[in-house]
Symmetry: C2
Amino acid sequence: MKKFINNVDHMLAESLRGFATAHADLVEVQFEPTFVTRKQKAQNKVAVISGGGSGHEPLHAGYVGKGMLDAACPGQVFTSPTPDQMLAAAEAVHAGNGVLFIVKNYAGDVMNFEMATEMLPFEHATVYTSDDCAVVNSTYTTGRRGVAGTVIVEKCVGSLAETGADLAACKALGDKINLRTSSIGVALTSCTVPAAGRPTFDISEAEIEMGVGIHGEPGRRREAMRPADAIVSDMVAAILHDIAAKQLPAEGEILLLVNGLGATPLMELYLIYQQAASLLAEKGYRVARSLVGNYITAIDMAGASISVCLLDAEIKQHWDSAVHTAGLRWGI
Amino acid sequence: MKKFINNVDHMLAESLRGFATAHADLVEVQFEPTFVTRKQKAQNKVAVISGGGSGHEPLHAGYVGKGMLDAACPGQVFTSPTPDQMLAAAEAVHAGNGVLFIVKNYAGDVMNFEMATEMLPFEHATVYTSDDCAVVNSTYTTGRRGVAGTVIVEKCVGSLAETGADLAACKALGDKINLRTSSIGVALTSCTVPAAGRPTFDISEAEIEMGVGIHGEPGRRREAMRPADAIVSDMVAAILHDIAAKQLPAEGEILLLVNGLGATPLMELYLIYQQAASLLAEKGYRVARSLVGNYITAIDMAGASISVCLLDAEIKQHWDSAVHTAGLRWGI
């Protein structure tokens, strides 16, 4: 393992210090317990908080800022943050209008966020994201995994909260987007967790892991490496199957997110995007919004995920609204 | 080699089609000859054009848009674009106020851009970037290589051009920024050029290439892998030595750009940033502006570069001005 680190135990704190310094206009980072908040605390709105294991940057700390999250709680790499982090973050950003947690559906995260909410003296609700249609139940999950759709949920719920909408409305929008979003990932290589020091799984030059999780969890199956268009075609088919299974509209406007898992060049992501957009258009979906890049990563995995969110007027409005975070920025 | 490609010969075109579709609000892509322009052609300004081999995305096509480039000419991977691309791009975006080319100092690019300018029927000038202080003369270069400082030149010259400044003023700002910027890169792994199908160089788990070029060209020397802080310390020392050699100010405000070469996680880039910012502050430089992420890549190389630009009021103003491109966006 070759990584830019000094010591695996200090890596997260050292990186967060850099993040805080580089974005000092935007965020503040607290340690013990560790959480990230906006530099300017928001008033008169629901506080929107997310968190999870590190290694998925820019998610979640990179999405703290105006129009998106009020706070993020980063755990150690691929490890849930602890309830004391969530409680401290909630205390710091709560503005009298309740707290909405956005939690990716992994057993450790769910358990710790639930423990935090039980101790929380404020009105609260939780949106669990579970957009990964690859598998049901996995290494760290009961039910479906929350993956790149989480970025769309955080963006749009953050926007709605900014308007002064109440907790129930924010939760309803988050749940709706989660329902209307389907994702699937594929790995060409494993990621390497710094504390482990070696790749999470072995995979040959001739294989891909179809449906891989963002921690390197197994997907649907090990498949033969093949041309990009054939891989993308199977990924889009899985998404379309999921949309049909959820009895969602078979046509209409979509947001297409092609996400890099860490080590995949942008050139390849745009190639994937083109094939996915083309196949989805053939099926009657119009790509009305797009996002291509590294938005939720699996450390240094070569791989990509495709997410399709079925838009409606409300989701589109909140996707388009101004946002100013380290990881997503427009309109400001 | 495992990559998301269908055919190495079609990879660039397929990727550019995806880029054009994903950013249809922002850019248009032409083929044969291949170039990228803004969707809304700018009027009454110097046309700013860059280009170079592909594989460095988001550079350069990702920097076409308001406040930055008018056009970009992407060559095949790590291969200079041809003069007909540059001429066609210049014809398309010239608005009667002359054309400024921004060219990274590689022999192939220099030769082809010079050939284009000889045939160009418009007033023109060229800024050559050569911010890499690692080596003088290299695999593809006579003199110093142009690397991440090119992003700063493109951003600031693009901003100045937007104000209606004349060709000479735009060239002068570009040359000034190039002089005031020093960069150095380091590789943990090689990149793999798709057409070659195997890594450009061999490097063991115990080694790093200090001063690597963005095409995997040799750097200063092969060194032993060591903790990030020790690597960063040597990189910052090289930059400080270069600043002194250029007789530039030994204190003042700087822009610190920590750039990922393709496969390095953001978490590691922020860790590098923190150490670099801390060392530069000890030496009397105040980090006034920061950029951390993948802005000029070497396909899928694990590695990073550090760039320091000595700011002045003019550079800072043009760095801060609004920009709307696929790769850099703020204020819009």
